[in-house]
């Protein structure tokens, strides 16, 4: 039976809707719009759905009726179903709310509740993060004191996968960054006859800012995401629960090797990046400014102090911890489904980059006020 528009009549404070034809997926949207219009009319207290001329009804048709009933009840109105055929009745009986006329209580969650829940969740997350850091340091101390040990080969495995595999991309990007900085700097500084200072600029920017930040972002994308995905997948497969029930501390077994490895890899890659980046700048200075490599290098060595190196390398260690702990915390906190692993991975990248930039700003501020900037 093809679907037709329902006939709508007013009977005092009731609106009688005579349904005609099939109530199926293709026409359910249009029917819902019409019924909602009737339900919203001010004078209407009861909406009567007359099924006498109605044809088949499917899940979409039943959902429209259920939705209408809920909306009417919410505004203190009533829904009356009349002349139901057996098929209509059977479909309606699959919807307990419609069959019984009893509406399950709606959970109304207001802004204050949502905000409070968010605050509690955030506070819980921060506490859990702090707990993970504390437990990692405690386990690390026991490993250093040789009371406990980390799994054989785990550290080497992580050093290889996190570090060796990243050398090429870090070097390439550092080289290109050094070249770009040198091109930009050479053009601007030459205008003022200060082209020679391009070496100072490259040295300082590479050591203090650009390479530590760029390396941290690369490690976040490569390693932080991998840590979160690995741990999240292990959580999904109950492997971390299995460790706990075996009496093996998951933090010592899984987190400590990763944190130790990333603590070594962050500064190591940064050092490599600094050297390669300066090489890139030196190449451009030689080509565009005819500055001899020896002159460039000696200016860099004169300008960049040990304190500048400490600033850059110190930051790279802090960035590595941010990445390692964020990935570990979110990976361990993944739920039991594949989607939560993806969420943990994405959040690791976003939060790590955010906190890296935040901490970088803090470092810059402290350095400025302590006159080391």
């Amino acid at each position: 039976m093809p679907s037709q528009a329902p006939a709508i009549e007013r009977d005092g404070r009731s609106a009688v809707v005579r349904l005609r034809g099939d109530l199926l997926v293709p026409t359910a949207g249009e029917l819902y719009a019409r019924l909602r219009g009737v339900a919203r009319q001010r004078g209407v207290k009861t909406v009567v759905l007359d099924f006498r001329d109605a044809g088949r009804i499917d899940s979409a048709g039943t959902a429209v009726v259920a939705l209408l009933g809920r909306q009417l009840r919410r505004s203190g109105k009533q829904l009356d179903l009349r002349e139901l055929h057996d098929q209509h009745r059977a479909a309606i009986e699959l919807t307990p709310e419609l069959a019984s006329g009893v509406r399950p209580p709606d959970e109304v969650v207001g802004f204050v509740e949502r905000f409070g829940a968010q605050v509690i969740e955030t506070a819980g997350g921060i506490a859990a993060f702090g707990g993970l850091v504390a437990e990692t340091l405690r386990q690390l101390a026991q490993v250093i004191a040789r009371k406990k040990h980390i799994p054989a080969g785990a550290l080497r495995h992580h050093l290889e996968t996190m570090g060796v595999g990243a050398i090429f991309i870090v070097s390439l990007l550092a080289f290109l960054t050094g070249m770009t900085m040198a091109f930009q700097g050479a053009v601007q500084l030459q205008r003022f006859g200060a082209g020679v200072f391009v070496a100072d600029m490259i040295g300082m920017s590479m050591v203090r800012e650009l390479v530590p930040l760029m390396t941290a972002v690369i490690i976040t994308g490569r390693t932080g995401a991998a840590i979160a995905a690995e741990l999240g997948t292990m959580q999904v497969r109950s492997e971390i629960d299995a460790l706990s029930t075996m009496g093996i501390n998951p933090v010592r077994f899984l987190i400590v090797p990763r944190i130790v490895a990333i603590t070594a890899i962050g500064p190591a890659l940064t050092l490599i990046g600094i050297f390669i980046g300066i090489m890139g700048g030196m190449l451009v200075a030689q080509v565009t400014l005819d500055m001899p490599a020896v002159t460039f290098w000696s200016r860099v060595v004169d300008r960049v102090t040990l304190l500048d190196f400490a600033h850059g390398i110190g930051k790279s260690v802090v960035f590595a911890w941010i990445i390692g702990f964020t990935g570990s915390h979110l990976g361990l906190g993944a739920g039991g489904d594949a989607g939560s692993v993806g969420t943990a991975t994405t959040r690791t990248v976003v939060l790590s980059v955010f906190f890296i930039i935040l901490i970088d700003a803090v470092f810059a501020t402290i350095a400025t006020f302590t006159r080391h900037g």
């Binding site: 799994p151 292990m234 629960d241 299995a242 706990s244 029930t245 075996m246 009496g247 093996i248």
Partner: protein, 259 residues
């Protein structure tokens, strides 16, 4: 029951935000095999997570080998759990390790045994669970039944006094499931272990369990032997056994339903 209970739950409530099971009281005696039964979502696995230290109880107490588990420090609790073994519904084998490394993991992490001794223990345990010569295989190279056996081997490698098995034969064909049942009985015979088994399989329950505890509507509904539960006039208990018998469609299952 003989001797001190290896596991005792006292007025235990378990769940996440709100209780799924409440007022759970039972004891497991040394050497006893107890099956935890109930419909899907009734809280059996949640209870098991609380018992094995993965989910703190909302109320009540879990006493493991006479000690109140959640009153202990995390380190003490880990040592206590070292006397137990748990096989998860998903096998929870580490995919990047060989079966030998998986099974040897608790020995390498928690004991000072020499490498040769560990390898021999793994070889023997794999033979006990019916996986001789599978040491070098990766989990991905094994069937579901073999992975379950490997998980049981890992859970039992420290000769636990109490083992927990969550749906050990779920999703396996009857022949493989029967093999798993034999393995579980072998643990009691060879190791003298007590076992708590979460399962729906009536055939398995009849084969391995001394006693069963059935959960429904958020609490313990019935306790007793399988024969006692099968003969129960409680509509909930009878209905559960009837439905299970229908779904398993085995002669034994039909007999239970009829009784």
């Amino acid at each position: 029951m003989t001797g001190e209970a290896v596991l005792e739950c006292r007025d235990l409530s378990v769940g996440y935000d709100r209780p799924i099971l409440e007022h759970v009281d039972f004891q497991i005696a040394p050497g006893e095999i107890v099956a935890l039964l109930g419909g899907s979502g009734c809280g059996k696995s949640t209870l098991l997570r609380t018992i094995v230290g993965l989910l703190p109880p909302l109320a009540g107490e879990v006493r493991l080998f006479g000690q109140s588990m959640y009153a202990l420090s995390p380190g003490q609790r880990r040592r206590l759990l070292g006397r137990t073994g748990t096989a998860f519904q998903q096998d929870a084998l580490f995919g990047s390790m060989t079966i030998e490394d998986n099974v040897a993991l608790p020995l390498r992490e928690l004991t000072q045994l020499p490498h040769a001794v560990i390898c021999e223990m793994v070889r023997m345990r794999l033979a006990l669970v019916g996986l001789p010569g599978m040491e070098r295989r990766m989990p991905a190279q094994m069937s579901g039944g073999q992975r379950k056996r490997a998980a049981l081997a890992r859970a039992s490698i420290l000769d636990p006094e109490l083992m927990f098995c969550d749906e050990p034969s779920a999703g396996l064909d009857p022949v493989v499931a029967a093999g798993i049942d034999e393995t579980i009985l072998g643990f009691r015979k060879v190791l003298g272990a007590s076992l708590v088994v979460v399962t729906h399989e009536l055939e398995s329950i009849r084969t391995i369990a001394d006693r069963a505890i059935m959960f429904a509507h958020g609490q313990i509904r019935a306790t007793g032997t399988i024969d006692e539960l099968s003969a129960s006039h409680d509509p909930e208990v009878f209905g559960f056994f009837h439905r299970v018998a229908e779904s398993t469609a085995s002669p034994t299952g039909a007999a239970v339903a009829a009784s």
